[in-house]
Symmetry: C2
Subunit: 366 residues, 2 copies
């Protein structure tokens, strides 16, 4: 998507062919800093220190990290060290493991001499595949926005609420929840996005608002408390969120607070959609509330807030009593009964076992 | 309630009888500062700069402000100036207007000589009346908590979720939503409170957490996004919130985000109660979503966050892109159908016209 008018991805091979470049997302929204990664250690740090985040982008960075590592040491032990070093950066990230295992499997069959080029090719493949999936979600979801726009008075925007950042910054390009929005905007359909700030890590306020603003998409930041009020007053036409993991029955595990928005959408007959790349479907479970373990993150994320001082410096402030405990569940589960449709790269699925299998028949009795 | 073990109110006549003292709530939770108000100007500033907040406390401060003003100038013009000066501090606060009109009505019938003592007496009356109402809410609500505790295994706490600050800091003492909680705690019933931080102004994280901690009530601060998740997993036994305005039919206007918690409570069969002092019932309207105008506050409250730096200094940081617009509706309306009961000083009312009239029969065909 565009940054200052220039089409930009979240990760790319440097122009001189000797490194990988990424956007340091810890600096957003206050500064756009491009970081050059030249070796395994820098790639590992970029993931562990969350310069990159979002499951697809983490996977892509790991794949490029394997390329950087092979340039340093393409031996069998170098391959093993690279895999394990990158895997340890964020061990619960599914795409990370998947990308690393794919790289090891492919590279281990090759002689060290051939590993550098093969690793680069694989990283590029993984990136293109992610872009293709997101474009597919965009193509699948665009007609929903077109249909709402067609019912509106001329020039009235389609008001779309989103939660967290399932935008291009979480992927290589387009984003999952945002792909239909960008496609609608680029097609000249007037859209306006209500951006949930998404406490405690504020991915909406800092990342989604930044990327929408840079691409020129009209948007308004709101606190996570406000969406229900706007739905009660007809000011939200649809909700689109991303998902970290969706069960075979269509229960959607996503950033904490998604469930509350889905309840409000249901209560006000606002359609609630999920941008769902098929690799995040967990075909092994159905009941998300019962079976998806929810990561508990540090209380510090709740008790503190980071932002920019008037001086331009970045600072972190304490916002609770020092002694008050805090709890920080990272995700919640939205039951399938609250979901209008799952927007996948193959089309829109009803949130049910049958709905998903009809789009992914190869999973039937697999 | 207690602060450092000492029973404390939010406002009181100074020990020397020459001033009024308040807690500067803008300094909480990071510092406890008592401010001495000696005249009209200081009382007006305390209200307009929000050193005191919460409708009942604003009313009480205004009444004490009339006393301080009469000590300076008890003439008819002094009375008029005092009323108008205090009224202008926060013109939309209902209790403010009510307290000031009551003071003017009573004092204007007296000679200037008698006005100082009468103003003091009225301020004290208003404070005692507020305390009595909140104690009444506590007495009405306590049996609900007792009943839940009776069903728990020995020593297991009753988990209560609250939103915003409807605590003693918003009133003279006890609070509205918190009165039943403090009474249960004081009676030895184990309670634990989930404190919604309550963006954008963070009254939960800064005020409710502070007052519960000081009184010794176990609590945990959570982001506003988290409550639904805890309800899905049986970790919330009941919700109690306050209300800014409740319609004759039981629709509850309260801090933005209350509606989302009520939806989650309904979806998980968690009882949702409202601590309702009867003066905040608006007997003139029934449909809250349609008829309660919602105040739109400054976008700066959403875009910025204030807290304590490591240095101990208080600082404000920007948390969104500088150019992103933000919207800030201050309240939402929870329809009566989502409310289990309205805990008033006269008992628990069903959230309906008939339910409220049965407790307040003097309003019937009034």
């Amino acid at each position: 998507m565009k940054v200052n008018g220039t089409p930009t991805r979240t990760i790319w091979q440097a122009a001189d062919g000797q490194a990988v470049e990424i956007i340091d997302q810890t600096k957003l929204p206050h500064a756009l800093e491009i970081v050059r990664l030249t070796g395994l250690a820098e790639a590992a740090h970029a993931i562990s220190a969350m310069l990159v985040r979002g499951a697809p982008l983490i996977g892509a960075t790991a794949a490029y990290g394997m390329w950087l590592a092979m340039r340093e040491d393409a031996s069998d032990s170098g391959l093993s060290i690279a895999h394990d070093t990158l895997y340890a950066t964020r061990p619960t990230a599914v795409n990370l493991r998947w990308a690393l295992d794919a790289a090891r499997a492919r590279l281990s069959t090759l002689t060290p001499n051939d590993r550098v080029d093969a690793a680069l090719a694989l990283a590029q493949e993984i990136c293109e595949e992610d872009v293709a999936i997101n474009q597919g979600i965009g193509t699948s979801g665009l007609p929903i926005i077109e249909a709402i726009a067609a019912r509106k008075a001329d020039g009235q925007p389609v008001n779309i609420l989103t939660h967290c950042n399932a935008g291009w910054l979480a992927t290589v390009d387009w984003g999952t929840a945002t792909a239909p929005i960008y496609m609608a905007h680029d097609a000249g359909i007037p859209v306006h996005v209500w951006v949930d700030e998404t406490r405690p890590r504020n991915q909406g306020a800092s990342l989604t608002a930044w990327e929408l603003g840079n691409h020129g998409v009209p948007h308004t930041v709101i606190v996570d408390n406000a969406g229900g009020h706007y739905m009660q007053h007809g000011m939200v036409d649809m909700v689109i969120t991303g998902t970290d993991r969706t069960t075979a029955a269509g229960d959607v595990c996503n950033k904490i607070g998604t469930y509350l928005k889905a309840l409000a959408a249901k209560d006000n007959s606002v359609p609630f959609y999920v941008g769902l790349p098929s690799p995040t479907i967990d075909w092994t479970i159905e009941d998300g509330v019962r079976d998806v373990p929810i990561e508990e993150r540090s209380a510090d994320e709740v008790k503190h807030m980071t932002g920019r001082l008037d001086t331009g410096d970045i600072a972190t402030v304490l916002i609770t009593p020092e002694d008050s405990p805090a709890a920080n569940p990272a995700f919640d589960v939205t039951p399938a009964r609250l979901v209008t449709g799952l927007i996948t790269e193959r089309g829109i699925a009803e949130p049910s076992v049958e709905g998903l299998l009809s789009l992914f028949p190869e999973r039937r009795a697999a």
